[in-house]
Symmetry: C2
Subunit: 205 residues, 2 copies
Amino acid sequence: MEFSSKLLENAVNEMSQLPGIGKRTALRLVLHLLRQPDTQTFQLADALSKVRAEIKFCKSCHNISDKDICEICENPKRQTDIICVVEDIRDVMAIENTSSFKGLYHVLGGKISPMDGIGPQDLTIKALVEKVKKGTVKELIFAMSPTMEGDTTNFYIFKQIQGMDVATSTIARGVAAGNELEYTDEITLGRSIVDRVPFEASLKS
Amino acid sequence: MEFSSKLLENAVNEMSQLPGIGKRTALRLVLHLLRQPDTQTFQLADALSKVRAEIKFCKSCHNISDKDICEICENPKRQTDIICVVEDIRDVMAIENTSSFKGLYHVLGGKISPMDGIGPQDLTIKALVEKVKKGTVKELIFAMSPTMEGDTTNFYIFKQIQGMDVATSTIARGVAAGNELEYTDEITLGRSIVDRVPFEASLKS
């Protein structure tokens, strides 16, 4: 792509480093910004620089936070003896949206994935194990995505805390609400039969 | 969407103002930046601010440029008496890529579109008409996209320069290279028969 301006080329190149944004999309976005009042661009640039420079991670759960301890960990109404282990902050947001969990979180910051060069030492697993070692945690809920990497990560943590006095559980896998049975994959469907729940219990939720 | 950090929320909000980028995508992009070395974010922010603050538009053709007159207008090898009228800078880039045009451009900066509140006064049509009035331009090539708005814009300019000593042409419309005849829409196909070219002439290109 030939640009008539170095400034434009530079902006497009930087923009196209973002995942899922190619050169053409980057050019479209930059040209859009050029047509808008300049304050929009400056606010965007400022917000990005600020979040990158000043962002903190909660020292307890590693969730993104403006303070040293995040609002969830700080909240006295939350149960501190049950910890939900998630991959990243988006999962915290998704679970918080359901309003069905009142414990604390532990954000791993990724999942074990040898293909991407991510090992246990790149995640916050050590801090989680230390937390469990203290003995105040009664239950760990593994809430990783049901993929190969998610399962590996769950299993790795499970091995690390073996012998410690903590219960472990994993989020239920089954047919999603609104899905047709005939289009559900066999692993999920099989699992949903093995893990069936008493009908009366299912009426409560 | 509930954020655990105001800084993050702010960055996501600014990012999601870009066209085609919703809140979820914006969050994914910002979280990606947070995982990268901070220089990447700072370079992106800097490049965007710079291009917005310092960008110039060529005083002659209104193409984006780092200088007052762009490289194409400055180039002594280009034919100055033939002007290709395009909607925006991306069209200049697309036509330059074909290497088949050696004249100058005139970038309108949009197309007449009452639906979007864009009238002739929002485009650089007046400057184009002034250019033609000087009498040095022999031919105007209308190279707008073949849409209702593109056609309207072409026709508006055509009316403005009527009576002046300048030839006008429009880019050929027809079946695109590699397209199957049976899937070509009827307007295009009809046009391609009316505007047929001598077979020998078609062998040259």
